[in-house]
């Protein structure tokens, strides 16, 4: 309740900052960016995996948000508006990436693995992460995003539906389809490589 009151009524609430930013206050832009950049960055990481273009996408997201701020009417939370842009840009990026597939480099994966572990353990981890990312890359972007928002981020179907602008039933179906496809791909992979 305190959070909601702060968000909706406080002088430094998102809504107040948006109003100031619309009036051309660059300080309000900066404050909105500082407040939300971490969340946007981590959400991009979950949706896209270790992608070298993540920094450019972060910039693009905030650029589009600030450019289209006049569209934000304040009916939903600013965070929902922001996440909608994140999801749209992530979806477009995944579609582009599917057209020009690029395997995740070992250097990108190494950044996610604990340096203190033995080389063998790191190689196993790297292999597992590469498999997970390659399987996720084979799922259609809309399904992948719905699945990750539900299973990894733990958002409710209604919240996801609001972000992706779809009905909750459609979101549930995307999540189920993505899970089924992942299972099928994993079984096919295990069958091809031999049972562990």
């Amino acid at each position: 309740v305190i959070h909601l009151v702060h968000r909706s009524a406080g002088p430094d609430s998102d809504q107040a900052l948006v109003e100031r930013a619309r009036g051309g206050d660059r300080g309000a832009f900066d404050e909105l960016y500082r407040r939300h950049a971490d969340l946007v960055w981590s959400r991009l990481g979950r949706l896209l995996g270790p992608d070298p273009e993540r920094e450019d996408l972060l910039q693009q997201i905030f650029f589009e948000v600030f450019r289209d701020l006049w569209r934000f009417r304040g009916e939903a939370a600013f965070r929902t508006f922001l996440y909608r842009v994140v999801v749209n840009i992530a979806c477009d990026h995944l579609k582009r990436r599917a057209r020009r597939p690029r395997p995740v480099s070992a250097a990108d994966l190494d950044g996610l693995i604990d340096n203190q572990r033995s080389p063998e353990a790191r190689a196993v981890e790297r292999q597992r992460l590469a498999l997970t990312m390659s399987l996720l890359d084979r799922i259609k972007p809309k399904k992948r995003i719905a699945f990750l928002l539900r299973v990894v981020e733990g958002l409710s179907l209604e919240e996801i539906a609001e972000i992706v602008e779809a009905r909750p039933a459609a979101v549930a179906q995307r999540v189920r389809h993505a899970h089924r496809e992942l299972d099928r791909l994993l079984e096919k992979h295990v069958g091809k490589e031999g049972a562990p």
Binding site: R26, D38, E55, F63, A123, L136, V151
Partner: protein, 310 residues
């Protein structure tokens, strides 16, 4: 199973795993699913898979460091300034879209689209006509298939194969084994999910992480050459007695080249500021032909390199 159909119970559990508490209408459904999950191995495996995937994806959510945050903010400010200078906001207020649509009338846009479409159809028709006229009337006899030899690394000398010198891969003896160490072989395959520690000749030890396939292609006094067709190899080379271990990977994903050389003696000649000068090599890994000098310098790392050939 207390009268429940196994398929429907599994489906219920999967739905609960995916949709959480939203999928259960009442407490009884959740309790029933939890009881089923406790005894169904398939459902437990599905739950573990989801948990593994969740933890893998969570790793990619690395925190945003201050340098990057500041860099993006600076670029963003510059982009917003440029946008404001372009007058994008004024165009939007007038309801005019930026770009060619803003300067062309709807009729002109339709004319332009029709012209493009017509020229595309004409080009397609011309191309098809050209193809038909150049097609031979008599059926072409099928040509024999030309098989391109695979780009394999150089194979071993015949006499070396015949004398069995290639059998230098010796897996470690299992701790609980009653018999002696396994006989050395010249090729090894490791299934998915398994690891195998082995001796690579007299000077190297290695771990093969499955699925992997390793084959010896040359074994001489000062050179051991192996081909990692598939999988991951983590190797350590004892450089004190000199010699080299050359690991080839035709489909390699090694960031520093298609092959790696381990241990080429205690010293090697390396040019330094235009003047040749002996420098210690310490037998560490050196990248293959695709790597440059800067990468070579980066490659001097403490841990033995892992070569991926997935």
């Amino acid at each position: 199973m207390s009268g429940e159909r196994p398929g429907s119970a599994c489906a219920e559990v999967r739905r609960l795993l995916l949709e959480g508490s939203q999928a259960s209408d009442d407490g009884a459904t959740g309790a029933r699913a939890a009881a089923h999950l406790g005894r169904c191995l398939d459902c437990q495996r599905a739950r573990d898979r989801l948990q593994g995937l969740r933890s893998d994806v969570e790793r990619a959510a690395t925190p945003l460091d201050d340098m990057r945050r500041a860099r993006v903010l600076a670029r963003l400010a510059s982009a917003l300034d440029n946008h404001a200078a372009d007058g994008g906001a004024r165009r939007r207020e007038r309801g005019v879209r930026p770009g060619p649509g803003g300067v062309l009338s709807p009729v002109a846009r339709w004319v332009l689209a029709a012209a493009f479409g017509g020229s595309a159809v004409a080009a397609l028709a011309l191309w098809l006509a050209g193809r038909q006229s150049s097609a031979p009337t008599a059926p072409v006899a099928s040509r024999p298939a030309v098989t391109q030899p695979a780009a394999d690394p150089p194979s071993a000398a015949p006499e070396a194969r015949a004398s069995g010198q290639l059998a230098v891969l010796q897996p470690y003896r299992p701790a609980n084994a009653t018999e002696g160490p396994p006989a050395p072989v010249d090729h090894l395959e490791v299934p998915a999910g398994r690891r195998l520690r082995l001796h690579l000749g007299a000077r190297a030890t290695a771990t093969l992480i499955g699925p992997a396939r390793l084959r010896v292609i040359r074994s001489e006094a000062d050179l051991l050459e192996v081909n990692l067709a598939h999988g991951t190899l983590v190797a350590a080379y004892d450089h004190r007695a000199g010699g080299q271990l050359l690991v080839r990977s035709p489909r390699g994903a090694h960031p520093r080249g298609r092959h790696a050389v381990l241990g080429e003696g205690r010293r090697r000649q390396q040019p330094d500021r235009g003047r040749p000068r002996p420098r210690p090599g310490h037998g560490r890994g050196r990248p293959g032909a695709h790597a440059g000098g800067r990468r070579r310098a980066q490659h001097r790392q403490r841990q033995p390199p892992a070569l991926d050939a997935r």
